[in-house]
């Protein structure tokens, strides 16, 4: 089984971003996931978002654990830094890297197995620490790499490919994140890039922990009738909360919204998220209401998607503020300030005597 790599040639009219790069420059290796995997669409959305933000590849860090989802990091921005951690342990690596260099942008890619089973503790503590990163879960309700067993996000009553019915309740990462105090919580769908791309842009610019739970169908083991995470089911039961548009800092205001139709929330760097109301009034700055809305939809067998909750200040306890990490990356600090010297070391040790 051999296959060709994606030809390097591009459409001649492909637009360039502020760095003079086309979208193609943000691609990575060719995916070896199943044809039609939702994760590949998520990859395309990340590529699009990084291109739009004109991120410099060397300022991006891609982290992942184990699983189909965790292969994703190989498939975008090949010029970025990458770390493939032990199963479920990506948040620890992200914490260390973040502490050492706060100037980089961090994207963690995980799956429902990596996050909600083996890595659940790590996930919860990353939220609790309010790590400055974008954490994306490619959520398909099954363990695809081990032939499609139910994962911890499978819904009650959902059927496996061979017919078994799941009877255990799901862990919902969005509810969990809301409960644990995450400051940016969103849900997307791999098949809706219009909604997903601005969420990724905003999530990358958000200061503090940003979670995007992405319904990303497993085309091989969980795209049949009876599945609640198939393309067809997700499309039918997708209830957008609000449409969030991301407006970069430099961009002029091009669209005029009628009063009451849209609401702007400024992010720390001056970029803005413009929220346009969907069918019903929804306030994404009210944590309790957001949680209630997610639960209400869940009870109706639906998925509330879009920007579900946002605290633009990133909360009081943002990781760097809380820990007093230096502005300069550790590798740029002079030796004298990194190493206390023997006198300094004695002082430190003296505190524990």
């Amino acid at each position: 089984m051999t296959y060709i790599t994606k030809p390097k040639l591009t459409h001649p009219s492909l637009p360039q971003n502020a760095l003079g790069m086309t979208r193609r420059a943000y691609e990575g290796a060719l995916s070896t996931l199943c044809a039609g995997c939702g994760h590949d669409s998520v990859t395309a959305a990340i590529v699009e978002a990084c291109w739009r933000l004109a991120l410099e590849p060397q300022n991006l860090v891609k982290l992942s654990g184990i699983g189909c989802s965790s292969k994703t990091t190989a498939y975008f921005v090949s010029g970025a830094h990458g770390f493939n951690a032990v199963h479920g342990r990506m948040p620890s690596i992200a914490t260390g890297a973040n502490a050492a260099n706060r100037r980089l942008a961090y994207i963690g890619i995980s799956g429902d197995g990596d996050t909600l089973s083996i890595g659940l503790g790590q996930f919860c503590h990353a939220i609790r620490r309010n790590l400055d990163m974008l954490y994306m879960i490619e959520n398909n309700g099954v363990y695809g790499l081990t032939k499609g067993q139910f994962s911890a996000s499978a819904d009650i009553g959902s059927r496996a490919k061979k017919g078994e019915v799941n009877r255990q309740p799901p862990i919902d990462p969005v509810l969990l994140a809301l409960d644990l105090g995450a400051t940016f919580v969103a849900r997307g769908f791999s098949g809706d890039k219009q909604q997903l791309v601005p969420l990724i842009e905003a999530g990358l610019q958000h200061r503090g922990f940003a979670l995007i739970d992405i319904l990303s169908p497993c085309v091989t083991f969980n795209d049949h009738e009876g599945s609640t995470k198939s393309y067809a089911y997700t499309r039918e039961h997708d209830e957008p909360a609000v449409q969030a548009d991301f407006v970069p800092r430099e961009a002029p205001i091009l669209v005029e919204y009628a009063p009451g139709e849209a609401r702007e929330i400024a992010l720390h760097d001056g970029s803005r998220v413009v929220l346009r109301k969907a069918a019903e009034a929804y306030d994404p700055t009210n944590r309790e209401a957001a949680g209630a809305a997610v639960k209400a939809r869940m009870a109706a067998g639906e998925y509330l998607t879009g920007l579900i909750y946002l605290d633009p200040e990133g909360g009081s306890g943002e990781f760097h503020a809380l820990n007093g990490t230096p502005q300069e990356p550790l590798n740029a600090l002079p030796f004298e300030s990194l190493c206390p010297g023997s006198t300094g070391l004695h002082k430190v040790l003296g505190r524990y005597r």
Binding site: I4, K8, L9, H11, A35, S41, G191, V219
Partner: protein, 604 residues
């Protein structure tokens, strides 16, 4: 937009840009694949089926396929289609009984063709296998028409010409050389022919009536007549300083021939700036390589004669004001210039002429004294008299004449069988999947990032030694194999089944040239602006699917830059996309005969 009707035979045909641009609809990608496999004889026969003269056309075709080639839009330069065709002819083996079989038993119908050029030869090629008796009348002592008389042998060697004409003559043509037709009436009334095909070309070069023309006549030549007399060995020398008037392909042949007959200073005089030249870019290139000077913006004013001998020409110097798109807004004369010359060759166009057709035969002539010919059937206003090649619609190229011959042969067959000639068999397109397995296709789908190979030429020092040294050497087998990799296999079509699509976006995400978009439907002009890469080339169609099952949106494909890499089909989890080879059945007389045969009642 309405969903695209891909069952229309034109849709997939149009995607194969080269084949669509070729007047004879040569199956270019198919023969290029055969060349890539080293199957030169098969490649030759695929060519021969539609263009009849692969060896000749592989050297001198006007190649409408190449400017159309998609590779020229994706990169800078198109595939060297024409030169690959020559490779098939150069490297093929003996055809060994693979030419059409000629029945012993004739069908009793006799056809006359006037002029032994490419149009008449094609008619003979198509009708002889059906049992017709074909007689060709030729005024010169050798067959080939303008292919022989007007294309110099350093571009088209005689042996190539003889070989390919010989294949047709060998099918049993009754060839009457040195037999000009003086009266069509006599032929129609006494010839005993069931149909007459006029393929007599456009043999009259245009004259330039200026002061001094008559006095200078010994050293002023009409381009096509001069080339003809060189071809038949009547002219062997020309003066040192030669001026060529006109800048079409005939002018290029005249200037390069002059260099081989003793001229040392050859200037081609153009009335207009470079963008207006009629000559093909590669013919200009070849002439300039031989250090022919092309002088622009000179309009001939007078031939200058001293002591009864041409000494040169006077020209008006022209100035043009052009608009942004390069069109002439105004012109003015800014002065005059004299250029010395020993000989002047006029290459400013040619016309067809029919002094031998009586005007009361029911063959209508229009106000330019050109016969009225039906563009589809090639029949004149008199039933049973057909025109083709340059004789039909004025000077075009060999490949057009060949297609005229094919179409006229269909008409002649229907005419002789008593069938209405306009009700012809329609072209058809068939599709066959190229899927072999996971990630496996029965064609080379990877994009080969190689630049166009250059054809080696004989050195400037060598090539002038004799008139008939062929300048182009042609590709070697290795060079051809490399160039063949550049073909994008546009005939392996992306075929979409909307009902299977689950809208996972995989095809859109993988497409290297962003030609796929899943979006809401809309009017074409508006839809073109909101595709993944906006589709600005309106000459290339958009494919629009029916409503997709899950969201009712549509799949839109901009055909413009698709490189047929098949990644959309590889990434499709439901096989909604498939790569299928389209085969265009462009009917010839044999297909027409088979269709008529099939309709006949069977007698047990």
């Amino acid at each position: 937009m309405d969903a695209t009707d891909t069952s229309h035979p034109d849709y997939y045909h149009r995607v194969v840009d080269c084949q669509w641009a070729c007047p004879a609809h040569t199956d270019v990608p198919e023969y290029i694949r055969l060349i890539a496999q080293g199957r030169y004889t098969d490649a030759y026969l695929v060519n021969r089926q539609s263009n009849v003269f692969p060896g000749i056309l592989g050297r001198v075709c006007d190649r409408p396929c190449e400017p159309a080639c998609r590779r020229g839009r994706v990169e800078e330069k198109p595939v060297a289609i024409c030169r690959l065709k020559r490779v098939a002819a150069d490297l093929r083996e003996d055809l060994d009984g693979r030419l059409p079989k000629i029945p012993q038993l004739k069908n009793g119908k006799r056809i006359a063709c006037i002029g032994a050029g490419c149009a008449s030869l094609t008619v003979a090629n198509d009708l002889l296998p059906l049992g017709y008796e074909v007689t060709i009348f030729e005024r010169y002592g050798l067959p080939g028409g303008l292919m022989r008389s007007n294309i110099p042998s350093f571009r088209l060697p005689e042996r190539v010409l003889d070989e390919e004409i010989g294949m047709i003559l060998g099918m049993g043509v009754d060839l009457r050389l040195g037999t000009p037709v003086e009266s069509l009436r006599a032929m129609l009334e006494q010839g005993g022919f069931d149909a007459v095909f006029v393929g007599s070309g456009a043999p009259k070069g245009k004259e330039l009536t200026l002061p001094g023309r008559e006095a200078a006549s010994a050293n002023v030549h009409i381009g096509i007549s001069w080339l003809e007399s060189v071809a038949f060995g009547h002219t062997e020398r020309i003066g040192e300083r030669v001026l060529i008037i006109g800048v079409g392909n005939t002018a290029m042949d005249c200037c390069r021939t002059s260099l081989r007959l003793g001229a040392s200073e050859v200037k081609v005089m153009a009335r207009k700036p470079r963008g207006f030249f009629k000559a093909s870019p590669w013919e200009l290139e070849d002439a300039e390589e031989e250090r022919v000077e092309i002088i622009v913006n000179r309009s001939p004013k007078a031939f200058v004669v001293q002591n009864g001998r041409l000494t040169g020409m006077r020209f008006e110097c022209m100035e043009y004001e052009l608009d942004a798109r390069g069109r002439i807004l105004s012109e003015r004369v800014s002065g005059e210039e004299f250029l010395p010359a020993d000989d002047v060759i006029l290459a400013i166009g040619q016309e067809n002429a029919f002094p031998w057709i009586e005007r009361d035969l029911g063959i209508e002539f229009d106000r330019w004294d050109v016969p009225v010919v039906d563009a589809q059937t090639f029949q004149s206003t008199r039933a049973g008299v057909f025109f083709g090649g340059d004789a039909a619609f004025g000077p075009k190229n060999i490949i057009w004449a060949v297609e005229h011959g094919h179409q006229a042969a269909i008409s002649i067959h229907r005419h002789c069988q008593g069938e209405p000639i306009a009700e012809r068999t329609a072209p058809q397109v068939t599709l066959h999947s190229r899927k072999m397995g996971m990630h496996e296709w029965s064609y080379a789908n990877d994009y080969a990032p190689i630049e166009r190979r250059l054809v080696p030429h004989v050195s400037l020092k060598e090539r002038f030694k004799k008139l008939d040294i062929e300048v182009e050497l042609g590709f070697s087998a290795e060079q051809a194999a490399e160039e063949a990799q550049r073909c994008l296999n546009c005939d392996v079509q992306t075929v979409f089944a909307a009902k299977l699509c689950i809208e996972c976006d995989a095809c859109m995400d993988i497409c290297p040239v962003d030609c796929l978009t899943i979006t809401g439907n809309g009017p074409e002009a508006e839809l073109r602006t909101r595709l993944k890469a906006s589709a600005t080339n309106v000459a290339q169609p958009l494919y629009v699917s029916g409503a997709l099952p899950q969201t009712g949106r549509v799949m839109v494909k901009d055909e413009d830059l698709c490189v047929h890499c098949g990644l959309c089909a590889e990434r499709c989890p439901t096989a909604a996309w498939d790569m299928q080879k389209s085969h265009v059945h462009w009917p010839h007389a044999a297909d027409e005969a088979a269709a008529l045969e099939a309709r006949k009642p069977k007698i047990a």
